[in-house]
Amino acid sequence: MALDMIQIRNLKTYFFQGKGLLSKLFGQGLKIVHAVDGVSLTIKKGRTFGLVGESGCGKSTLGNTIFRLVEPLEGEILFQGRDVVKMDQKELREFRQQAQIIFQDQFACMNPRMTAGQIIAEPLMMRQGEQERQKNIEQEVIELLNAVNLDPDAAVKFPNEFSGGQARRIGVARAIALNPLFIMADEPTSGLDISTAATILNLMQDLQEEMDITYLWVSHNLNQVKYMADDMAVMYLGKVVEVGQTREVFDHMAHPYTQALISAVPQVDSSEHKETIFLEGEVPSPIDPPSGCYFRTRCPHAFERCEQEEPPLIDLGGGHFCACHLHNNN
């Protein structure tokens, strides 16, 4: 039985609009964006957890909340049993050494005036209580560059000299610099060409094997999540609508949203062409979500109960859960 790396319990992250002076003067009410709305998940140690959903479903906010880049309203985030929400600054610093993020826009998170070597060395210099090892940093940077299959020459180059794929590798090198236990990868291959994306996926799988890292893989690319993730969750409007082992979710998708999402993914192999389930309309605003089930406004199977009652996550067996009244026998 795999141990739990991260347990999220009933996590809520709301954003408040209209708190400012102008809105008060002009009498606009407070608007609440339900970005993450009561999410519970367990990410197991040494595995890859895929988080999928369309833009605006709250998957990035959920990831950012885990790192307390955004403060949650309520809920618990247990990192190896310790609640991240309750950590003070000192504990947070320690936590953020063990947990790292690879951001989507790698160029945006590199200082254009620093060389790749300096960028990768930064986390190493931040490491506390190891002053005597500081002189070895140069050596460590070269080892890290090696680990992500970049030339040692790359250390003296500036970000603008790198291609998209190389920049991504630097992001990976920086993330693994402090031997983290957990890495969140937010759309790690978006904007990359097919063969470049494949090299990044291979690299991250190799690192996972060598260093026993747990990944939270945030992506809207379902083909990739199917390939990379052991477990996965599908989010819609800030809620998890289906969660389970990736294979189980793909083979026996239970939620109508998951079915539509997976059917809409274009496949190269004509044998895998499925009848696309077209969802009408667009994702409703998270400021004013529909009553009952959030998905009912676009759901082809919606019935009366969906409007009145919010569906709970129902256990379908084998760790597969789905929040839909179609599976609710109570």
Partner: protein, 339 residues
């Protein structure tokens, strides 16, 4: 005279950047029939967008077309005057939609004003003596919006672009681009920025409207999955050249060029979990430093001496299936197993 709607012959195009000369398109030849969807795929920098822009002659000044012709209904577009292009072709018979509809819509004007502008120009060139009023154009704009599936078009037409979501903006672009007069639509990464469920909606809309008006589509994208579902025929490009071309099932089912085979093998959707993905060694070459012979030879696992020396011509290797690989042509039908 040819019966093809579009026939591109030997199109060769350079970008002149000071002392550097980059060949962006090299002897590109293909044809597209009425009502057909031709998919153009390839990695960034392979010239697929340049091709679309070259057909409409919207290239930057540094581009120089060195050879070739672009026959549209038998007329060489490269020989038309700028005025003729503007009056008869652009936005009339050939239209284009881009990846980012945000950039194609002016944020400070209402959707109706922007649509009416287009309709007015189209009307001016199609019926020079027309006395249509603004009212009529607005009605027409509403009809176009309605045809793209936007709910409540009477109200939405007076919105500003920021009030539309990405998918809706792309619908507006399609509404402007596709009408009964359009014979050819160039779609350049039209759905790349959209979520999969919205992408499916937009692609369905493009297909429906194109069917209705008998419009042919040149569908440019790097997403092979989308092409597999949209295109009748596929063209794989690399470093400005066509490497392979043929029916969708043929190209994806039994690729005749090692590069196409490698692209397909590097897709996660084709691989089971835990198995390594194929990666092509090296990177796409810079266009001003193209390797000798076949531009793919430094990265190709099968390359032989002859690949370094000769530029492979695009040859019909099977009925309607073209490939530009000397080895394939020498040995005949062969499967390219990279792993």
């Amino acid at each position: 005279m040819s019966e093809h709607l579009l026939e591109v012959n030997n199109l060769t195009l350079d970008y002149n950047l000071g002392s550097r000369k980059m060949q962006a398109l090299g002897q590109v030849s293909f044809s597209l029939d009425k009502g057909q969807v031709l998919g153009v795929a390839g990695e960034s920098g392979c010239g697929k967008s340049t091709l679309g822009l070259a057909i409409l002659r919207l290239l930057p000044r540094v581009a120089e077309i060195r050879r070739g012709e672009v026959l549209f209904n038998g007329t060489d577009l490269l020989k038309l005057s700028e005025e003729q292009m503007e009056r008869e072709i652009r936005g009339q018979k050939i239209t284009m939609i881009f990846q980012n509809p945000q950039n194609a819509l002016n944020p400070v004007f209402k959707i109706e004003n922007q649509m009416i502008d287009i309709l007015r120009v189209q009307e001016k060139y199609q019926n020079p003596g027309s006395r249509k009023r603004r009212r009529d154009f607005k009605q027409q704009a509403i009809e176009r919006l309605e045809s793209t599936g936007i709910a409540d078009p009477e109200a939405r037409v007076s919105n500003y672009p920021f009030e539309f979501s990405g998918g809706m903006k792309q619908r507006v672009m399609i509404g402007m681009a596709l009408s009964s007069g359009t014979s050819l639509l160039l779609a350049d990464e039209a759905t790349t920025a959209l979520d999969v469920t919205i992408e499916a909606q937009i692609n369905r809309l493009i297909t429906e409207l194109a069917d209705k008006y008998g419009t042919s589509i040149l569908y440019i994208t790097h997403n092979l999955g989308v092409l597999s579902e949209m295109a009748d025929r596929i063209m794989i490009m690399y470093a400005g050249r066509i490497f392979e071309m043929g029916n969708t099932e043929a190209v994806f089912g039994s690729p005749r060029h090692p590069y196409s085979a490698a692209l397909l093998e590097s897709l996660p959707s084709r691989q089971t979990k835990g198995k390594r993905l194929l990666t092509i060694p090296g990177i796409v070459p810079a266009l001003d430093r193209l390797p000798s012979g076949c531009s793919f030879h430094p990265r190709c696992a099968f390359a032989e001496e002859v690949c370094r020396q000769e530029v492979p011509p695009l040859i019909e290797v099977d009925k309607g299936h073209w490939s530009a690989c000397l080895l394939d042509q020498k040995r005949g039908r062969k499967k390219w197993h990279w792993t």
